[in-house]
Symmetry: D2
Subunit: 409 residues, 4 copies
């Protein structure tokens, strides 16, 4: 290796894994790119830090963590005799590093509110393609794998499946930073149990309890953290702020915003009209544009916008109720009427302060891309069939809950 390249073999400190190695100069250069550096300004868990004050980790850190786990997985699989070429390994590192690069501010807020026309994964792909051009084709194999078009399917499964490196990192990381230690999963052990059978990523037989535990931990993290009712209320509130802002802007109101943010407030973006310029604009948009603007909107003339903004910034969050049955029309109406009266709002305005909906979680999907176990005799079985004891089938049933948000009295 030449001097220049050696300088790029960096070792980063990581509170979770101890150290993360940057395996080669190309990966180093991708990390240095402003597209990737932007992820330093995208919170991994949106507004969850309003409930779990430690949860300020970023997409940047998560992406590095995924890459670290991928290095482990490649080492273990090769140790077990699975052939993975250096080129394939490198493509895996790139693909997992960039798999979430298309996330917007606060990870999910945008695509749930003012940019509903395109999914973050589609944007990730656009970033990868732009980078591939800049790096003269060095990302081609990574893109092929990422799109699920490579002939060796297990490589794709390391990137996107029910046991991919993404999940193995984010569950561990989110559990770590929130301090919800029951959600902690043993990523290292799960990876140690991985193998490949018939081009399918499998877990060795004795890993069955670890898999079960992983699924239960995932369920716990969803209900206790990701869908925590206070956090959910904050998330929905953020979406309402964004929708209101876009409504005002489209009506011609001038709001203090950054240029990149303005672009997404004034344009309806979808997969078709997502041009190079859109990508450029998107690459400049992060949590700071959004939260910085909302802070300014507190003093805006629009009552709805300023109320919602102040509510979010100073953590005067809405009352959130959660129940197993849908709210009846009458219940919703009664609350809306009360709030309309209290704040002197019209029928359209009240929808910004009172809103309800459905959330769901499925700890394990038993219908596709299931987790399979490899037995000592070479047999491969679906984990549901292998588990006599705990009804993983039960965990694979989607659970729905219904929320209702409205201003506290």
């Amino acid at each position: 290796m030449n001097e220049k390249k050696t300088n790029k073999l960096k070792i980063l400190n990581d509170p979770i894994y101890g150290f993360i190695l940057i395996p080669n100069a190309l990966i180093f250069d991708l990390i240095q790119h402003s597209y990737f550096q932007r992820l330093r300004r995208i919170s991994q868990m949106g507004l969850s830090h309003l409930v779990y004050p430690g949860a300020h980790h970023t997409r940047f850190h998560h992406a590095l963590g995924c890459m670290h786990l991928m290095q482990k997985a490649v080492r273990i699989l090769k140790f077990k005799g699975v052939e993975i070429s250096d080129e394939e390994a490198n493509a895996l590192y790139i693909a997992i590093l960039l798999h979430d690069i298309g996330h917007g501010p606060f990870s999910h807020a945008l695509e749930q509110s003012i940019a509903t026309g395109i999914h973050h994964e589609a944007i990730s792909l656009k970033f990868m393609e732009a980078l591939n051009e800049e790096f003269k084709g060095e990302l081609s194999l990574a893109i092929t794998i990422f799109k699920g078009e490579y002939h060796r399917k297990f490589l794709y499964q390391l990137i996107a499946s029910q046991l991919d490196m993404d999940r193995l990192d984010y569950l561990k990381r989110d559990s770590f930073y929130t301090g919800v230690s029951e959600g902690n999963i043993n990523s290292e052990r799960l990876i140690t149990m991985l193998n490949v059978a018939n081009d399918y990523l499998v877990v060795e037989e004795k890993g069955i309890y670890s898999v079960e535990k992983f699924i239960v931990a995932r369920r716990l993290m969803y209900w206790q953290v990701y869908l925590h009712k206070t956090g959910l209320g904050a998330e929905k509130l953020l979406e309402k702020v964004l929708v209101r802002a876009k409504e005002l802007v489209l009506k011609g109101t001038k709001l203090p915003v950054s240029k990149a943010f303005e672009y997404f407030l004034t344009n309806q973006i979808n997969e078709e009209n997502f041009t190079d310029k859109t990508l450029k604009m998107f690459s400049k948009l992060d949590d700071y544009d959004v939260l910085g603007s909302i802070k300014e909107w507190i003093s805006n003339d629009d009552f709805i916008l300023s109320t919602l903004s102040e509510s979010l910034i100073n953590r005067k969050l809405p009352k959130v109720e959660l129940q197993n049955e849908p709210y009846s029309k009458d219940e919703v109406l009664a609350i809306k009427e009360e709030v309309k009266k209290r704040f002197k709002l019209n029928n359209s305005e009240v929808n910004y302060l009172v809103y309800n909906g459905k959330i769901s979680n499925q700890a394990y999907d038993s219908t596709q891309n299931t987790i399979k176990l490899l037995f000592k005799n070479g047999e491969v079985k679906d984990v549901i069939k292998a588990s006599d004891h705990l009804n993983i089938q039960a965990l694979s049933k989607p659970v729905y809950k219904y929320y209702m948000c409205y201003p506290k009295k």
Copy 2:
């Protein structure tokens, strides 16, 4: 406090909790007593260290850990307004500290082999009563609570129930020392969620996921650790050694053993004939008597005894098979015939080398002393009824497995 008493307010280092405080001079004196010091020489997990090399922690350490958690529980409950007098608190500390003092060598080996007539809990009570005499009645309330005879039932539940301090410590401790981190439970969080409703120890509503996780972790620890097939094989082997030794001794063979061990090899002990002398002898018996003797037996003339002893000491463990269905008589017979021939044994001798049986685990008992949740509206519900999602009912079904052990070829 006088000088002497202040000196007994010790702080011990603990790898798990950081520090353990000895809350008063009486507790200090109990810990110093040779009856309790014996627990330093009783392995908490029997022979599990043959599978998990870190698992060398002792009953002594576990008992201290339980007492530490009990202090936490008392603090939390009082913080929530539950009245617990200083005398009651102290009785709780004593009762949990001594609850396992009746364990013999390797925790369970004795009562499964040569001292089947009495359960370790009955022996714990005998120790407590002897100590109560020595300490002039200062353990009376602790004994009343331990026997379940105190009028405030929740105090007993802190000592013996499906969420007692015993379980909260041993699951955490065993997970820690084995390195099976999936079995780790968040004892602190569970304690933080405790409350009392109608004199019943309950968990606050929001703790439901922690309880589910606790039950799943318990199940995992049983199958992956406590009933790990290699560890099970070692445990059964130890029992066989003890039974053979007792058989030989009763036949008049002179074996090198300690005096305390000899007592239990020559006498058939049960609850009725368990005298003060028996207690004295028991108080001198620990892992060192048993393992020390087995080491000497390697060179014994009795083929069975020496073979089993050598197998245990040098970790040439039997082959262990585990399956969901009972072994048929024919299967068992076939193996015995082969082993008889291989080692030239008679029908009675072969039973020391070939043995099978049933193990079971019930992660949660839904029929008695169930875990109850306290809802914000004051309602108390059984955790099974409160959990819509995960079938805790499923976890409460006992699971049986069948093992078969025989010498490797």
Copy 3:
């Protein structure tokens, strides 16, 4: 306690301590106040996350951590017989909770650049006084202690000394989030060793090695983390951006900024002219104002401002050199000449791209507020005199290093 107050006895998850308890309703209300909520948007370690990607924790979290440790300290001291009234304890919690509330964006950037006229501690006091008015005098005792005017001096030392709860939290927390585990200190053990002798906070004799280790860890954290040369370069760069912006604004250039930020760019603030309005403005200023603005400045017409801004946002950080001797005038001049030529800058402009200075660290100050040890015989000795082995004296010598920053080629 009434219902309302009970609802405010919250328990927060913390990745470091497990749980943090909010001890009473007043503390809860202070935490809920927008002045305190602002700390959620102030990074504890400035731009250190550019070197240590996990370091995104906030002043908010640190303040809660300090309060948690203070609860521990109060409990331990009372256990040892030191009298602390409930009122004093509560004042300690308030004082430590609010001790850093006067920090501006990125913790130190402002007071090192555009608001050099007032120290963050003076602003903390202004916040406390404003809150005291709002809370009808309930903070009076906390303020008295915070100002060092209370007659029991050890209470002040818990808040501000070489072993105060501030240091015990931030060293532990920063070590945790950066992943620099060598900097980890055992705060719990140090607190366990605390005592009071003659109204002075002391450490018990056997804690001497823990104290030495604490000082060494502190030194390590300074050189390896707080003064890490890349982080230092980023920090200085941020200051340069702010100074340039203020220069432009004062010259009449219109820059895109938030209202609060504008206030501090257009006014020269010092302790004398710091009015209620200034406090209001300050209470709205956080990392989002500053970083959000800098992002916009990338496309500014001013070459210096846009260059510096782009350099910061996209992590194209300056080259930083560090040495033990000051840079000579000639060396500095040579670099400036090269950079002037390279970027076509005048003499004044080049100072924004080339800058040098001195940093220093003193792991332990042996001249004032020294750490004292309490011996079993009641004697109190300065830790330096008690330590025969490690030259703490050596550690108390300030160490200076000299840095030089300039654009990479």
Copy 4:
């Protein structure tokens, strides 16, 4: 790899490192050998568990940990371009795995009392040679490296130097199991910093603070743990028991002991008369022989032996004083006189109950095999010269303390 060999690629759980891999079948077979299995019954820290109840880990576990770290070191060095052949790597694993196989019961008790004629390292070598014969020369290179006779010196330094894998494991492991978290070292980071310059194992420049911290942690562990005065008292007591027993046996008294133990009580062993038979006997001797016997000796007729034995088993430890100056003859005499009178002992007997001596610790040896730093410019400097700040020189001065033990009143 054939089936049989693949079965030996085991993965063990480890509470510290997560997992330990057994890299090949030869290593597996060595671990399975009864010589190595014996280490399961040798406590790593002697009697330290009497002070730190968690410290029950064994030489077996430590040896595995060293081998794990060696795998890390080999991987890192190869990553940095240092050539290490597979044969050399394997020899390193074997050598570090077996480096302590010669330890007797309680690690150090024997060689300090009844087998003073030979050092445990010499016995380790004898074991290796015996195993080499059994394994047909497969350990030859390992032995050459272990003896320091291999031409590449840095390989030896990985096994025996001031930064060898032995220290990196035992400091971490002992800190972990005792719960003395201040002694924790970042082995992983130190290994990550290793490199080789001129066939000398060096640490990269930026690792200087980690090295300093490592030395300070080592010093702390010595004074706080290894030389903790209560633990020291227990250790010395154990030696006294052994010496007394040997004295009695040599006089013709019959003591209950195991055969292996008897051999060492009746023979004076030194390097010259250490035959194959001695090795066989030694290979059967462990903690269980010694502690098991001492338990029996409690009821022995010899007052000294029974008193000492009871004192050890029931943790009625001697009073231990520690000071910086030697005890004067008069002081010692006075104590002996008092004890003689108290217990009616003669001049020779009293030496079993009253004893004093000197302990020393040198955190860093600056005179030989010093730790060297590799600078970016290729220069190699001794760590003492490179460290401007902390006087490592001071840490390299041996510290002496003087102890005095006698029975408590």
